[in-house]
Structure formats: C-alpha cells, structure tokens
C-alpha cells in the first residue's frame, strides 16, 4: 500500500492522526482503527528513514493505537441485559481528537487575526521628562496620597486604641499617681529610661498618662529629661543629681 501522506511535520501525534483521518475521509466517531493504525505506523517508519527524530509522544500514540486495535479484534462478551452499553475502545481517543481539533481550528482563526494586527503600528509615548523623571515607576503617587495614606494608618490605629480605652476604667491611671510613681523610682535610682516605668503588658493609655506626668514634672522642675534624637529612648534624671 502506497503511503498517501506527504512527509511533513506535525505538531504531535494528535495532529498526525487528525491528518490521516481527514485524508481517509472517515467519520471521526467511527475511525477504521486498523487502517489508520497502519498508516500511522508507516508514517513513523518514514520519519525514521528520513532520520527524523521521532518524539516519544508519537511512539506512545502508536502503542495506544495498537492496543485499541487489538481490543476491537477481541470478540465482545455477549450480555443478556442491555442496561450497560459497550464502551467503545476508541472512545477516549476520539474525545481527545475532538478536543484537539477544536483548538487547531481556532488556531487558524488566530493566525488570520494575527496577520492583520501585526501590520499595525503604535507610536511611542511622548517623551515627557519635563514632567516625570526616569523613575516613572512611581507615577501616580503624589505627596497628597502620602499624606492620606499616613492619615489612614493613624486613623486605623486610633480606632483600634479607642476600643481599648472603652475596656479600661479611665480612672485607672492619673497624672498624680504617676508623678508619685516616678518620684518613688527616683529615690532608688538617680536616672532611668522612661520605658522602665512600664510592664510589658501596659496599654497606650497608661503610657500617655505617664508621659503627661513626666511633662508635668519637667514643668515643675522636679526632673530633667534627655533624648538624643527623635524616637530615641527618653532618659529621666533626678534634678539634684544633674549638677
């Protein structure tokens, strides 16, 4: 039997099978499996003759075809009840072929569209160094946005801490109490860091009251407070000792 297939490259075993089925003009749902398998194997032989590398997928498909062919040769077991229809050994392959065919057809359509739209040109964006420096990646972020972002963060934090306030009796900490506490601490130490006034479990409200107490004591010239830079630790010193 002469091979009617031209030697051409196929994208894969499904591509080759579809080609053979179309060539043979047979129904995809009723593939003459013996005939198609024969042609498929002949094609693989031809590929090898031409020293083309036969990808493993093609070989796997060959094995599948042979398997289907042998299954179809086996006599079907006669069943008394017709409830379960026989499963066609070709069924799975047919589904795969149909699925693949769908996309293959669409590929042609894509190709047409691509050929049109690759003939379209776009202008480059206007050079706008005057407006934006080379760091275009921050476009859209303005100083106002920065301000809004930080305000939002602060707002979110303050709403969180408001809830905390409600759970605590407001009278728990008073400035006077805290002044007493600081004074007491200064009896044993000549100086200490502001942080040392708190347990790990203290809340913001307590920190604020203590801070107010500290300010009050500075005002009353009871202590000296030192801080080297923003956010640095605050050192509280006994006033007499500072001389």
């Amino acid at each position: 039997m002469s091979l009617s297939v031209k030697l051409e490259m196929f994208e894969g075993p499904l591509d080759l099978l579809l080609h053979l089925i179309e060539k043979a003009e047979v129904d995809i749902y009723d593939i003459p499996i013996a005939e198609i398998t024969q042609q498929y194997l002949e094609y693989l032989d031809l590929m090898q003759e031409m020293d083309l590398e036969v990808a493993s997928e093609f070989l796997v498909m060959a094995a599948t075809l042979v398997e289907i062919k042998s299954k179809m040769l086996l006599p079907k077991p006669k069943k008394e009840d017709n409830s379960e229809p026989d499963i066609d050994p070709r069924e799975e392959l047919v589904q795969k072929l149909i699925e693949y065919k769908k996309y293959k057809e669409f590929t042609l359509l894509l190709k047409d569209k691509f050929e049109i739209y690759e003939k379209v040109f776009y202008k480059n964006p206007e050079p706008i160094e005057d407006y934006i420096s080379e760091f275009t990646s921050i476009t859209g972020v303005t100083a106002d946005l920065l301000a809004r972002t930080l305000s939002d963060i602060i707002k979110n934090n303050s709403t969180k801490s408001k809830r905390v306030y409600r759970q605590i009796f407001r009278e728990t900490y008073t400035v006077d109490d805290k002044i007493k506490e600081i004074t007491k601490m200064l009896v044993s130490k000549s100086n200490f860091y502001f942080e040392e006034l708190f347990e790990d479990t203290c809340d913001k409200y307590e920190i604020i009251v203590t801070f107010l107490a500290t300010l009050e004591m500075v005002k009353r010239r009871m202590i000296i407070v030192e801080q080297y830079m923003n956010f640095d630790k605050i050192l509280i010193k006994r006033r007499k000792m500072s001389i």
Partner: protein, 181 residues
C-alpha cells in the same frame, strides 16, 4: 465641554499617551463619567473608520489606544525601521489558543490537550508577552497557571476575552460540521 471638545481632548490624550489609556484614566483626567466617555469614544471609533482616517482607535479591556491601519502597512514600514516580526510557530499558536480558552490552565493540561510537550512554546509566548504566569494552582505540586495578557488581546484585535469566538463545544455540532466537510 461640548461633545466636539471632548472628542478633541480625547484625541490629544490618546496621541500623547502612545500607550493604551484606560477609561478610568480618561474619566479622571477629564472629570467626565466613564459611561459618557465610552459612548463618545465609540462614536469616534466609528467616524475614524467611516472617514478612513490614518489612525484608528483600538479597544482592549476598557483601555483605548491609537494605532495605524493595517492597510497602510507598507508605507509605515518604509518610514519606521522594519520591525523584526518573526511570527508565531504553529506550536506556539496552538498553545496560545488553548491558553486563551482554558485560562487559567497548567502546563500539564496544555500538554494533555495537544498530546505533546508545550514547554518551549509557553516560554516563547511569555517572551512575546502574550502569556503570563498568573500564579500557582492550589493542587499537589502547586503547578504554575498561565493566562493571556492584554497584549495578546491587542495583537489579535480582541476587545476582551469575551470576544473570543465560541468554540464548538457540543460534540454533536462537531459531528454535524464534520459531515458538511
């Protein structure tokens, strides 16, 4: 602003941008609601086409961009350096069409539909910015999933993914069309 003025401003904006400009940006810049702008741009698209203007407006995912007309290709190419447009291989196109319809999709799923390995096709498509890695599937092995880009839509003249022509999913229809052929 009257409609004529709005059209004029949009024309200027699209020209300067070069790139695509989203409906949102246009709306923001001109302080006009998006639906009004969309309506006006659609009018512009029509009139550019009717008047056979040298530029056309293309729409991709609610963004708009000027482009030249494909039929002027030969003149344009003579002016600008011919672009190295090596087309897409059959394998790449097949892979692309599967990703287009099935996205998000993993490499294994693509391989199984095509019946061959698609690895090199996928990386070619990624290089050409037609496809991108959209994350990982929450499944064993956490495979990468692929989706098409806006650039894909642009290059294939599609406004959005909904514009993809319907696939013949019904196998009866396939059978019917088989018979016709």
């Amino acid at each position: 602003m009257d409609i004529k003025e709005i059209k004029s401003v949009i024309e200027g904006l699209l020209y300067v941008a070069g790139d695509s400009v989203s409906l949102k940006e246009l709306s923001h810049v001109m302080d006009i609601d998006e639906s009004t702008i969309k309506k006006i741009i659609n009018q512009m698209i029509d009139s550019y086409n009717e008047e056979k203007r040298g530029i056309q407006i293309i729409e991709v995912n609610n963004s708009y961009q000027f482009s030249t007309r494909p039929e002027h290709y030969e003149y344009i190419e003579r002016l600008v350096k011919p672009q190295t447009r090596q087309g897409l291989s059959q394998a790449a196109l097949e892979t692309l069409s599967i990703i287009a319809y099935k996205q998000p999709i993993t490499k294994a799923q693509i391989d199984s539909i095509r019946g061959v390995k698609s690895e090199s096709s996928i990386s070619r498509l990624i290089d050409k910015e037609l496809v991108f890695e959209a994350g990982r599937l929450d499944a064993p092995g956490r495979p990468i999933i692929y989706c098409t880009t806006d650039n894909f839509l642009k290059l294939f003249g599609l406004k959005n993914l909904q514009e993809l022509p319907p696939l013949q999913d019904n196998s009866d229809e396939v059978a019917a069309s088989e018979d016709v052929q």
